[in-house]
């Protein structure tokens, strides 16, 4: 059977085995032998958790073996990249009930374990005429290769089990051809960013495939239960699995194939889609919506749907006073208040004045106080606008032209004034006295003239008048 390799052992019997720098015996290949296919699947599932098969099982070769007695087994051959790597494979194999061996091509001896840290060597070589011989502590068995198994096909033939909904919100939607335009319009109207491709599937016929970057949760539930649409959760690059299902093997561990998309369905075989051509959803949706817009016409909103805009009393107080309406009788008091704090804008009407305060400023504590219910809409403090709509919707409902400030009065009426009519309080308060210019034109003209070079001052003999010296030095 097997003998333990000891330290500084000079030669090994099994061909292909060699000693590394630490004296551990091993071959260039590792073989993991399973008594049945389901153990192989369990091993693959466990190995896929360690990483990509390219890393865990380099140069793998999966085969079904048959012994001279007719018993069947499954084996995975792989390169032994390092002893430590071989140890990991052995632990995984032990976990699922398999046996791990090392060797070169034909003879494989059991991998080292705690009882034989330097590995094993065969006591004598088997002369069985089989393709492979496996030397174990409890048996020596020769096998012939019955067939080579395709790892990917093997994995994709597995039926997924139920799982929880994935955290990721990316989805692939496979829709029946008749549902394609409907789903396209629905996603486009909802503002969902997606790409769409038309695919031809074996055994299924034409389908419309949607690749959604981020599907809202409500749509996730919708598409999960929508007949004619299958929802898939991407699992690794090029793989997707049915919504709320999990695959025994982590699909991301499978080797990638550019341009290929594998959809693992819940109740059927996996679908391989080669090179789907995705186009942006908006491109399709825009064309379709444009065609509808040309043939349709705008209808006024039906009265049965609209609700009158009313003010309803509010129980909780608000503090965001943004404007006030001061009746005419209180305008003198308002003037005194505004002289003390001349901020905001004011519009004086026939029966009073509206004072709109600036951002973060309180309004004058007079008259009826208002808060800003919409962009250009003010509602009285103590009332709410019903129905409760967004500011944009309120502006649209009232059909307020831009630059208009509308005040909903407590009696149900509305008063609107142009925003330009609201002048800054400072400007409205100042009223200067009447004044006249002091001949500025002539003065400027004279002052602009240069003085010029020194000139003579000519004294002329003007008439001094009659009795010019009368009262000359009289104080």
């Amino acid at each position: 059977m097997l003998v333990r390799v000891v330290l500084h052992q000079a030669r090994l019997l099994v061909p292909g085995l060699s000693l590394d720098e630490k004296g551990v015996a091993g071959g260039p290949r590792v073989a993991v032998l399973f008594a049945s296919i389901d153990r192989l699947v369990a091993f693959l599932a466990a190995a896929s958790q360690e990483g990509s098969f390219e890393d865990v099982l380099p140069s793998r070769d999966v085969a079904e073996l048959v012994s001279p007695a007719g018993t069947r087994a499954a084996v995975v051959f792989a390169d032994a990249a390092a002893r430590l790597h071989a140890d990991v494979l052995k632990s995984l194999a032990t976990l699922v009930g398999g046996h791990a061996f090392t060797g070169a091509s034909r003879h494989f001896v059991e991998l080292r374990d705690a009882s034989a840290p330097y590995g094993f060597d065969a006591k004598e070589l088997s002369q069985a005429p089989t393709e492979h011989v496996f030397y174990h502590r409890t048996y020596t068995q020769g096998f012939d290769r019955a067939r080579t198994l395709d790892l990917e096909r093997l994995v994709l033939s597995l039926v997924p089990g139920l799982g929880r909904t994935a955290d990721s919100r990316a989805r692939l939607l496979l829709a029946q051809p008749g549902l394609g335009p409907v789903v396209t319009g629905y996603l486009a109207r909802s503002g969902v960013r997606a790409e769409v491709a038309s695919v031809e599937l074996p055994d299924l016929g034409p389908r419309v495939l949607f690749r959604v970057e981020e599907l809202p949760p409500r749509m996730t539930r919708l598409f999960a239960g929508l007949p004619g649409v299958e929802s898939f959760v991407p699992d690794g690059e090029g793989f997707a699995i049915a919504e709320a299902h999990r695959h025994p093997v982590r699909l991301a561990a499978l080797p990638r194939a550019p341009g290929r998309l594998v959809l693992v369905r819940a109740d059927g075989p996996a679908i391989v889609v080669q090179d789907p051509t995705f186009v942006d959803l908006d491109a399709l949706a825009r064309v379709r919506l444009g065609a509808e817009a040309r043939t349709g016409r705008a209808l006024p909103p039906p009265d049965v749907l609209s609700l009158p805009l009313v003010l309803v009393p509010r129980t909780t107080p608000r503090r965001d006073v943004a404007a006030c309406f001061v009746p005419k009788a209180e305008l003198p008091l308002l003037r005194r208040v505004l002289y003390a704090k001349p901020t905001g804008r004011i519009a004086v009407l026939a029966d009073g004045a509206f004072v709109v305060s600036g951002e973060g400023e309180g309004a004058a504590p007079l008259g009826t106080a208002f808060y800003r219910a919409g962009h250009g809409l003010f509602a009285p403090i103590g009332f709410d606008v019903a129905p409760q709509l967004s500011p944009e919707a309120l502006d649209r409902a009232l059909r307020l032209p831009p630059g208009t400030e509308t005040f909903l009065m407590p009696d149900g009426t509305a008063v609107a004034c142009a925003a330009d009519d609201l002048v800054p309080v400072e400007r409205a308060l100042a009223r200067g006295p009447a004044w006249a210019a002091l001949a500025p034109a002539g003065l400027d003209w004279e002052l602009d003239a240069p003085l010029g070079a020194p000139e003579d001052v000519e004294v002329r003999a003007d008439d001094p008048g009659v009795f010019p010296l009368r009262g000359l030095d009289r104080p």
């Binding site: 001949a439 002539g442 003065l443 400027d444 004279e446 002052l447 602009d448 240069p450 003085l451 010029g452 070079a453 020194p454 000139e455 003579d456 001052v457 000519e458 004294v459 002329r460 003999a461 003007d462 008439d463 001094p464 008048g465 010019p468 010296l469 009262g471 000359l472 030095d473 009289r474 104080p475």
Partner: protein, 255 residues
């Protein structure tokens, strides 16, 4: 003199004499102001009341800015108004039309001027020095143009006035000859006799001593040591600017 009269006389003085002193051109003299008129001007508010006075004040500001770093000249002091009235009367004393057959109006007026000048001290502050300079800077440029006309049967002299056209008619036939002469400030009163001429020069020299910056141009010696260091600096700068376009050394603040 009522305040309204005083304002009117001050405007006459400013427009007729002080503004020409600043800008050049013909001066227009009025009735002598005398002591009463000068005192009436001195008590008025010194601020300008109309556009012409504003021009005069602005010229003062520009000239002051040329002398030292100030935006405005000091407003005229009462003594400055008195000096202006004295200058006006002094020039009027040289008026040939002031003469009177029954007395010596020129001498009487010159006596009045001399007496009033003696009451005015030299500038005591830098502000007064600058203020008087910018007001009386044109005094050295006072001139009068006299015309002597000789014709076939006689000759006439016209001082500060143009000869009548009839006297110049038919110049060849009547052999009319004109002789124009330019009389400087010192000789304005020489025609009135030697004593009047001396008295005029003396009064002008006294006036120049009250306005030290113009004294050198009038040939009058002044004691610059009494001006102080800053005063001497202003004096020197005024002399440096005397022959230039006064006031142009500083930029016009209103341009």
């Amino acid at each position: 003199m009522t305040p309204a009269d005083a304002i009117a006389r001050r405007r006459e003085l400013v427009v007729g004499l002080l503004l020409p002193l600043s800008r050049g051109g013909p001066a227009k003299l009025g009735r002598p102001l005398g002591r009463g008129g000068a005192e009436a001007l001195a008590v008025l508010d010194a601020k300008p009341v109309d556009l012409d006075e504003q021009r005069f004040f602005h010229d003062r500001d520009r000239r002051a800015a040329a002398l030292l770093p100030v935006d405005a000249a000091p407003l005229p002091s009462p003594d400055e108004w008195r000096l202006a009235a004295i200058l006006h009367d002094l020039l009027q004393a040289s008026n040939p039309r002031l003469g009177w057959a029954f007395g010596d109006r020129t001498g009487e007026l010159l006596q009045s001027v001399a007496a009033r000048l003696a009451e005015i001290p030299p500038p005591a502050t830098l502000g007064e020095l600058v203020g008087r300079h910018v007001t009386f800077v044109g005094v050295p440029r006072l001139v009068r143009f006299d015309v002597d006309v000789r014709y076939w049967i006689g000759e006439r002299s016209y001082r500060g006035e143009a000869p009548p056209a009839r006297l110049l008619a038919w110049p060849k036939l009547r052999r009319v000859q004109q002789s124009k002469s330019r009389i400087g400030a010192e000789g304005l009163c020489d025609h009135a006799g030697q004593s009047a001429g001396i008295a005029f020069r003396a009064a002008l020299a006294e006036l120049a001593r009250r306005v030290p910056t113009v004294a050198p141009a009038l040939g009058v010696d002044v004691d610059v040591r009494a001006l102080g260091a800053r005063g001497r600096r202003v004096f020197a700068r005024a002399q440096a600017l005397a022959d230039s376009a006064l006031g142009l050394a500083a930029p016009d603040p209103l341009r």
